[in-house]
Every structure is written in structure tokens, then in C-alpha cells.
């Protein structure tokens, strides 16, 4: 069936409630502007009211046009979406390329019983779009679509017939004691910074000088009178408390009622992550297309013995939470979730005992950490202010520690079905990649690596970042690893054993 085939199932519209929700959402985004207009303006000026009414009419009309011109349908082979009035867009995703379905219901959408459906697909060629989004359909319809789109046998499953609600096998759920990991994730601290900046901007936009607020002014006066160290201490403490409270709130909002389940469907089961307090999210990943799992441990989280497990699949969003199968949780729980998701014993995947890398790798990690730090020091001594040079010497021991830790975390192992590789200090990542999902191998060697006798081996895959590396393994071991990962792939290109450069 061609994409433009007039026959086939009828076109469907987005939910009519979008006629209300769409304009409301747009108005919500315009609200700050309206507020400013109201505050700065002197009351009921007819011109102002005219502008406001015109804006409202435009927003409502845009919502109606959008609803009228958006159509979608699901044929036996493709999902098609037509949007736009003046600029028409036609998107079409082959159903056998769909890998993930993401349902999101923000507060406004939830109030009206709607959900946004985001379909993630593996793009087969640059001409095919990698996915599409339906904003929005009713929650019941969204759930139906989710199951319909991820059932892997579109040809023999009649599209109109709603699949039965499948049996869901629970794999994990939220334990509120995990809240202790919330302050340990950098993303939440960054989130606090963003919220702080927004509030400050808002206050600033409204033309309020924080110093005009009595309490703030008073506190600033007292701080100014106190010694400098005390002032710094107070400010740091306040920021820290804010960051901790904010990260707890964010964690709770994001992961409230978190559940990881496996749903059996016709033609393959899916993993489903449900979570969220205000914004409800549900991510479904086709299990057949799951290529592996990754345990991510940012430094603070690692220090607190926490970790987070993510899925490796194509069609996942690239943001910080993309593919997250669980919230930051105890390390053991992360490995357990990885094991449950991949149906493999932890010792076969992320929990496998790893091979250490040769001493040359340690030298390289140290050099790569210390040399840039030394350059910064030298630069500050040469051109910086007098105090900066000596202070910058502190960087050197930190760089040594970083280099040593980066070496200590290096490791890899090849198990029956997975290639496991670990690296990174500030963010340690342990990746278990399905060997069946490897699309090729790359062996890389820089001039410095050649002198050190090591290589970097990369397993190329369609999922996640596109490739996962094993850093600085001995040259012969690296090639052996690449050859073993995809059996017989490299064998014809190996230098015969007896012809090799005589080993020392």
C-alpha cells in the first residue's frame, strides 16, 4: 500500500476537546505577557482591550484550524499524520519501524482526559521521519493506540479490533525511601537553578526590585554587617537547603506512582514505565527491539551507592530522562531492573565481573587528566592575578584523583549474549549491549595510543548513542574482543598468528 492510498481505514481526527485545550494552552503561555500588559497599563484602555480580544480570537481560530486540518490513520503497514493548513505536512512511519510509544498528559491535558502520543521509530533512511506525535487524543484512545502500535504483527491483526487489555507483569515500583537519592542527582540540582532563574526573571520582569521587599532588604543589611565568611556560609546554606528541597519535590513529581511492568501482546511483549504526579507519563518500549541496558551513576549518586537503569533502544528521546526505566535507586535495585528487563542474570549483563585494562591505560588516563590541568595552572601563573596561580595548584591533585578513578572504572567483558563495557568517573556508565544488535566494529588508534600499545574498540549499534566504546585495551586483546563480539566478522582480516610481530 502506498502512503497516499485513498483506500484503507478511515482518517481519524484528534479529540474534539483539543478545541478547548489547545487555545487554553496557548493562552497559558501568553499569560505572563497579559499580566505585564495589565500591570503596566492604566486600566481599561479600549485599544488594549481590543488587542487582547484580537489575540484571543486568533488563538481560538488557530486551535480550530489545527484541529480541522490534523488527520491521522493507522493502516496495516503505516501510521500516517497530515497536519497544517497553509503549510501542509505529511508524515508517515512504517509500523514495523516503531520501537517506542510515549504517552504524556500534562496537567491541562489530564483535566480534560487527554494524552499526547509520541511514536518513536527507527529511521530507515533520511527520507523517512523518525517518529511523530499526536497532540492529543483521549486517554482511552491513547492507551488503545499504544497497544495497537506496538503489536508487532500488523498484517494479520485487524486494525479496527481493539486488542484485549493484556496481562501486566509487575517488575518494579517506587519505594519512598529512595527519595534519599534525589539530592544526589545533578539534573535535579540543575533543575533548581532553572527554577530559581525563572522566579528571579519573573520578579525582575514585574519590575520588582528584590531589595524593595522588606524582609530581603533587612536580611541583606544584616549580612552586609556580618563578616564575609559568615555571609558566604549563610548564602551557601540557603542555596543548599533550597537545592535539597527542590530536588525532593522534583523527584516526587517525576516518579510518583512509578511502576515498571511487562505486558504481553500479540507478536511480542513490551516494557512499560508509568510515572508522574502532575504530568503523567507512560513509556512503552518494544521488548524485541530492546538492545541492552545502561547503568548510569553520576559521581554524587555513585558516592551514595545509588544508580539508575536506562533502556538501550532506538526511538527513545535523547533528553536526560530518555529511556529511564527507573528513578535513581539503590545500586542493587538498578542491576535487578536491568536483569529483569533484559531477562538475563545480572552476572551476564551489567553486574558481570569485568576485566581490567592494561597499565598503559592508567598512564593515558592520568596524562589526559593532568596535562590540561597543568596547562591551566601555567596559564594562570603567567597571566592571571597573583592569587590565582597558587590557588590553581589545587587542580593538580584533583586531576590525579580523577585520572586514577577513570582508570579504576575502566572494564569490559564479553558474555554469552552481551558485550559489557564500563567507563567514566564523573558519570560512570556500565553498558550491556546485545551482541545481536551490533552493526559493525571500529578499532581506533591514535599516535599516542600506538606508542602505548593500546586501541579503542567501538561496537556500532542503532540504539542509544549509536556506538559504545571499550577504551584503551591492549591492541591484540582489542582485536580479539572485536572478533569475538560478532563471530567471524574480523577473522578474514586478522594477521595470522605466526606472522605477527614477535612478542616480547
Amino acid at each position: 500500500m502506498t502512503p497516499g492510498d485513498p483506500a484503507g481505514p478511515p482518517w481519524r481526527r484528534l479529540d474534539p476537546r483539543m478545541l478547548v485545550v489547545g487555545p487554553l494552552g496557548s493562552l497559558g503561555r501568553l499569560l505572563p505577557l497579559v499580566l505585564i500588559l495589565m500591570i503596566t497599563g492604566g486600566g481599561a484602555d479600549p485599544a488594549r482591550i481590543g488587542i487582547a480580544v484580537a489575540a484571543a480570537v486568533v488563538v481560538v481560530a488557530a486551535g480550530v484550524v489545527r484541529w480541522r486540518t490534523t488527520r491521522y490513520r493507522i493502516t496495516a503497514e503505516r501510521v500516517e499524520l497530515h497536519t497544517g493548513w497553509l503549510r501542509r505536512q505529511r508524515r508517515s512511519v512504517p509500523r514495523d519501524r516503531i520501537r517506542t510509544v510515549d504517552l504524556t498528559a500534562r496537567l491541562l491535558h489530564r483535566a480534560f482526559g487527554l494524552s499526547v502520543v509520541q511514536v518513536g521509530a527507527a529511521s530507515g533512511s533520511p527520507l523517512e521521519s523518525a517518529g511523530l506525535s499526536l497532540d492529543a487524543v483521549s486517554t482511552a484512545e491513547a492507551d488503545l493506540l499504544r497497544r495497537e502500535l506496538l503489536s508487532r504483527s500488523p498484517a494479520d491483526a485487524p486494525v479496527a479490533a481493539a486488542p484485549e487489555a493484556p496481562e501486566a507483569e509487575p517488575l518494579a515500583r517506587l519505594d519512598w525511601s529512595w527519595l534519599r537519592f534525589a539530592p544526589l542527582t545533578f539534573s535535579s540540582i540543575a533543575g533548581i537553578g532553572a527554577i530559581g532563574a525563572t522566579v528571579f526573571n519573573l520578579v525582575d520582569d514585574l519590575g520588582v526590585d528584590p531589595r524593595d521587599i522588606g524582609a530581603v532588604d533587612d536580611a541583606a543589611d544584616r549580612l552586609g554587617a556580618a563578616p564575609l565568611w559568615l555571609g558566604v556560609l549563610v548564602v551557601v546554606t540557603v542555596l543548599l537547603v533550597l537545592a535539597v528541597v527542590g530536588s525532593l519535590l522534583l523527584y516526587a513529581e517525576r516518579w510518583y506512582d512509578y511502576r515498571l511492568t511487562r505486558e504481553a501482546g500479540d507478536g511480542g511483549s513490551t516494557l512499560r514505565v508509568k510515572r508522574g504526579l502532575l504530568t503523567r507519563r507512560s513509556l512503552s518500549v518494544s521488548e524485541q527491539r530492546l538492545r541492552g541496558a545502561e547503568i548510569v551513576e553520576p559521581l554524587l549518586l555513585r558516592a551514595g551507592r545509588g544508580a539508575q537503569c536506562r533502556a538501550l533502544s532506538t526511538g527513545l528521546s535523547a533528553d536526560a530522562q530518555g529511556g529511564a526505566l527507573q528513578p535513581p535507586a539503590p545500586r542493587g535495585e538498578a542491576h535487578r531492573v536491568a536483569s529483569a528487563a533484559l531477562r538475563a542474570h545480572p552476572a551476564e549483563i551489567t553486574g558481570a565481573p569485568l576485566r581490567t585494562h592494561p597499565p598503559a591505560a592508567r598512564t593515558r588516563r592520568l596524562t589526559r587528566a593532568v596535562v590540561p590541568a597543568a596547562v591551566v595552572c601555567a596559564g594562570l601563573f603567567a597571566v592571571g592575578p597573583a592569587w590565582a596561580g597558587p590557588l590553581s595548584l589545587l587542580l593538580l591533585p584533583l586531576a590525579v584523583l580523577l585520572g586514577l578513578d577513570r582508570y579504576a572504572q575502566l572494564g569490559h567483558e564479553l558474555t554469552a549474549r552481551f558485550l559489557v563495557t564500563r567507563q567514566g568517573s564523573l558519570v560512570r556508565r556500565t553498558v550491556a549491549l546485545q551482541r545481536d544488535g551490533v552493526l559493525g566494529m571500529t578499532v581506533r588508534q591514535s599516535v599516542f595510543q600506538r606508542r602505548a600499545g593500546v586501541v579503542t574498540v567501538e561496537a556500532v549499534t542503532a540504539a542509544g548513542q549509536g556506538g559504545y566504546t571499550v577504551l584503551d585495551v591492549a591492541a591484540a586483546d582489542g582485536v580479539a574482543l572485536a572478533d569475538a563480539t560478532v563471530p567471524r566478522l574480523l577473522t578474514p582480516f586478522l594477521v595470522p598468528e605466526e606472522a605477527r610481530w614477535p612478542a616480547s
Partner: protein, 166 residues
């Protein structure tokens, strides 16, 4: 002992070299650097007349010429490719060498590109892509005729193979 020796991975080089005209191509591609690096210095020389600029300018010209004479020839010696029934195998890179192996069964598309310089020299680049964002295997500086032939064979071989492991 071993730490002072150069140790390469025990992979034999791929069978075929690229076209000898690729040397000319790499030289032409490096030529703009002479303008990019030299022009600001020339301007400074003409405007300030400081005695340092003639020397830096001379050094720049010598440096770029040395690069033109040496590096493209090294690149030609290194760059190699090979296609078997099972895999595409390439070796490229000068400071960072890269051995790439992609199984034929996982190849999705085969593209041939001719840039303006490459057209002038009757050269072409063949890009073999898999489903990975990082998996593209490029063979640059092929003779245009060889490239077309190569692309045709590759397309024929890959058409019959299902499954791309996405």
C-alpha cells in the same frame, strides 16, 4: 621494552588502495589553509610593517607546503578498502587510524558522492551506512568508475538481506 615500541592491532591492511589521483585531491583540499592562515598575516604586514610578519608568513608558507608534500602521500599509503561477501572493511586516518568493519548483512544504503574537486579529478566517495548514527563507512578518493561499480555490487549484495538490527 614494549612500552617504547609502536604496537599496532593485528589486522592486515585491506586489499585495495584508493586512486593515486586522491593525492592531488587531498593536496587541493589543503590549499585553502594557505589563504586562511596567510591572508591575516599579509594584512598585518602591509598595515603595520612590523618586522615579525615576514618571518611568520614565510614559516606559514613553508609549513603548508611541507604538509602538501608529505601528508597526502602518507594518507594515500594508509587509506585502503576491501569488500568481501561478508563485510566492508576500511582503514583510514593519519593521526588517528581507524579500522572499520561493517557486515554486509547490516548495510542499509550505499551512496556515491562527487564534490566539485572530485569531479575535476574524476574521483568519488562511497558511503556505506548501517542503521547506526555512527556506523557509516566512507571510502574517499576512489576512481569514479570504480566507485560506480563498487556501489552497484554493494547494492546488489545488500538488497537480498533482511534485518537491520534497529
Amino acid at each position: 621494552m614494549i612500552s617504547t615500541m609502536n604496537v599496532e592491532p593485528p589486522l592486515r591492511p585491506p586489499a585495495h588502495r584508493v586512486s593515486p589521483r586522491a593525492v592531488r585531491w587531498w593536496q587541493l583540499r589543503a590549499l585553502p589553509w594557505l589563504v586562511v592562515l596567510g591572508a591575516p598575516q599579509l594584512v598585518m604586514l602591509l598595515t603595520t610593517g612590523a618586522p615579525v610578519w615576514p618571518w611568520t608568513l614565510a614559516a606559514t608558507v613553508v609549513g603548508v607546503l611541507a604538509y602538501l608534500l608529505v601528508v597526502p602521500r602518507i594518507l594515500f599509503r594508509i587509506h585502503r578498502w576491501e569488500i568481501t561477501d561478508e563485510a566492508v572493511y576500511t582503514l583510514s586516518g593519519w593521526l588517528v587510524r581507524e579500522w572499520r568493519i561493517a557486515p554486509i548483512s547490516r548495510v542499509q544504503t550505499v551512496d556515491t558522492q562527487h564534490g566539485p574537486l572530485q569531479q575535476l579529478l574524476k574521483l568519488a566517495t562511497v558511503t556505506v551506512t548501517t542503521a547506526s548514527s555512527r556506523g557509516a563507512v566512507k571510502i574517499a578518493g576512489l576512481d569514479a568508475g570504480d566507485a560506480a561499480e563498487l556501489a552497484r555490487t554493494l547494492t546488489e549484495t545488500t538488497q537480498a538481506t533482511p534485518g537491520d538490527a534497529t
